[in-house]
Symmetry: C2
Subunit: 420 residues, 2 copies
């Protein structure tokens, strides 16, 4: 399957690179190779790290018959709409990550596409497969509400304000330094980016029409450390929420900062991460969490759409259409597992016992990371807790057996693994 | 599309009921009505709340030509395998929620199914669409690891042990009283249920073969309040984790209780809820969270598979194949939004101001829920924080305007919504 990438920036470069790196895996999963044949850029002189042949002649590329799928990553609204419309009129498949294009033209595009594949998983919440979750996974449900943290920039700023008590201006500056915020941050911190994404989700959930201008959008610029002070005091966090909610026979769509109780799952989404909570009448609450932006994460969603097109909508039952060298991997023998370990030991409370245990562990290749003795109770025995640095399971099992044979060990030793 | 339900227990009843309740919505999403024609039960005399005609003659049902899809909810391994094999040999589609069937026979079933649709979204993590997420949403990725909380019973017990300091026996008894644990809880608390589900996920991620007997399985029965004491002290929680991890050219599969750092997202999954964290080489970490069991949640996944079969793998771009009475819902006017509100006011710090504000709010239909005054700083002004009970947006906006006109208000009032 030949593809052209229209717009080779961070995401386009990542798409080309991952198609190359994961070529065999992807071919095994969809039954054919996906080949990035040509990329279109505005400025051919700009230096880039692209694993794809480049041109600046978009009009000739979109007329090529040997291209099966066009990946639109141009940005903007009207120019990509013009380009994508021409492609769809030629019945060629399109994959896009362009939320603005969809926020304004999704129904026109649906009409143009008819039975031509049109993928846009990457347009909302980057690497989180939320379009599929809503359109396929939860398709049995009347959707009661969607609550999304859909803008990583704003969530990063709010998270630093909450954790460090910094004010909005300082948190924004820090986000800009780290590359999480644009020089002009209005689109992100003003709630517009989240509103575009919300309209896409709400269309799938409720079939709502409407443009970003039709819905309530407020940004996070007005939040001060005093609001953070109040939120902390009353067990809230502040999040920029994108909300869709069925209210009677109408739908509420709004994007604004909100106080959310600390113990709600969505409130625990920190930093640049995105999360979408969906409540359905059958399923109850589900939540989808992950990276909302970035080249490789967004490319993951773009390529998942390409794979669906190559599969022609028919996924192989267990995910593979063809054998794959990394497929049917052998199971590791459990005795070879490497992780960190925790031990609880009930021992005689007398001089020299601790030294004996630590010697014994060290003789068996276990290196102690931390040690805690439980405050003494009435019994003549003491409870000791150890954790180890990364160790091999077979060493741990042997050590457990040896410990159990020691006369100063008064109960079968107990072990748990530590997964960090 | 006519379906037969083989096994009408909690899940089967919920499937029939939701197909009826959400009939029009489902028809709009997949382009045809899904009709539960017949249900098969072992005991016709048992009283049940089933919206479906019942029989006890399974062999005649699976031969019927007018049934398009068979939903297998019988439980067990060999008997459903026999039944499903016969159905697939007749090229009839199958949807199942049976994790044990798949843990033992998934590759045999894949060979039998070939191009016949075979859905099993409900077999892992109930209402969470994790099969689709792995097989379609993250298909571009080499999966580096899967960490799942796949057994709600065990997670409920561990959550109560952590939060209430209760011992295993008491927490289990409580779970049994609430219907979260079976009379014989071994399958759940021993890790076997989670192991079945892990094998299904690992097949999709890695193509691994193997039966539950081939992997490391440890339960949570040996955990004591002393382990909870240690975990709390060292900022861990204890979770029953189902882990799949690529290690060199092999795959590690294991189910066991583990100490997990408190601040990891999966550590925040409490009670009977399930969660699956998936790390891919392109996407990074994503997490999927929701109800792992229960009739309606599991039915949500069963029906999503039925809808995919009706759609023949081609989802309509925006989720609807046909107009729907609740489709194209109108947007609610933002002034009609009802929620709780938070106000920050900077006011003159003198007698009578608070009374004026509360009167003004009450005259405008706002009922105060809580009030906080920030400890005094050097300035001559005080900062007041109010929250309201559920109010109407237009009342709030009018109140904000009136407040701004008051001479004792020294800064533009600031408002945020509270989403609980």
């Amino acid at each position: 399957m030949n593809i052209a990438i229209l717009g080779v920036g961070t995401v386009g470069e990542a798409v080309a690179k991952i198609l190359l790196q994961n070529k065999k895996l992807i071919a095994a999963r969809c039954g054919e190779e996906i080949v990035p044949v040509i990329g279109v850029v505005r400025n051919l002189n700009k230096k880039r790290d692209a694993a794809i042949l480049l041109t600046d002649d978009i009009d000739s590329v979109i007329k090529r018959d040997d291209i099966d799928v066009f990946v639109e990553l141009m940005g903007g609204v009207e120019e990509p709409f013009r380009v994508v419309s021409q492609i769809l009129e030629r019945k060629k498949a399109v994959v896009t990550a362009n939320k603005a294009l969809l926020a304004y033209h999704r129904y026109a595009l649906q009409n143009l596409a008819q039975n031509t594949p049109f993928g846009f998983e990457a347009s909302v919440a980057g690497g989180i497969p939320i379009i599929r979750a809503l359109r396929e996974g939860l398709s049995a449900n009347h959707i009661l509400s969607i609550n999304g943290i859909l803008n990583g920039t704003s969530n990063y700023i709010l998270t630093s304000m909450m954790s460090k008590g910094s004010n909005f201006a300082d948190a924004l500056k820090k986000a800009q330094e780290l590359g999480y915020a644009e020089a002009d941050p209005t689109f992100d911190v003003g709630g517009f980016d989240a509103a575009h994404k919300l309209l896409i989700l709400a269309s799938i959930a409720y079939g709502v029409h409407g443009n970003p201008e039709d819905i309530l959008i407020e940004g996070i610029e007005g939040i001060t450390p005093e609001d953070i002070f109040f939120a902390n005091d009353f067990e809230y966090v502040i999040k920029l929420l994108a909300i869709a909610k069925k209210t009677g026979e109408k739908v509420e769509l709004r994007v604004h900062p909100a106080l959310v109780p600390k113990d709600k799952m969505i409130a625990k989404t920190d930093g640049v991460t995105n999360a979408v909570s969906v409540v359905g009448d059958a399923v109850g609450e589900t939540m989808f969490y992950g990276p909302g932006a970035g080249g490789p994460a967004t490319a993951s969603s773009v390529i998942s759409d390409l794979i669906d097109i190559a599969r022609d909508g028919k996924s192989p039952m267990l995910g593979y259409k063809a054998p794959f060298e990394l497929n049917a991997l052998e199971l590791l023998d459990p005795s070879e597992i490497r992780t960190k370990y925790y031990f609880r030991l009930r021992v005689e409370d007398k001089v020299g016992v601790l030294a004996k245990i630590t010697n014994l562990m060290s003789e068996n290749n276990l290196s102690i990371d931390s040690l805690l003795q439980k405050p003494k109770d009435e019994s003549p025995y003491a409870t000791l807790f150890f954790t180890t640095h990364t160790s091999v399971e077979k060493d741990v099992r042997r050590t457990m057996e040896i410990l159990q044979e020691q006369e100063f060990v008064k109960e079968k030793p107990f072990m748990m693994r530590i997964e960090e």
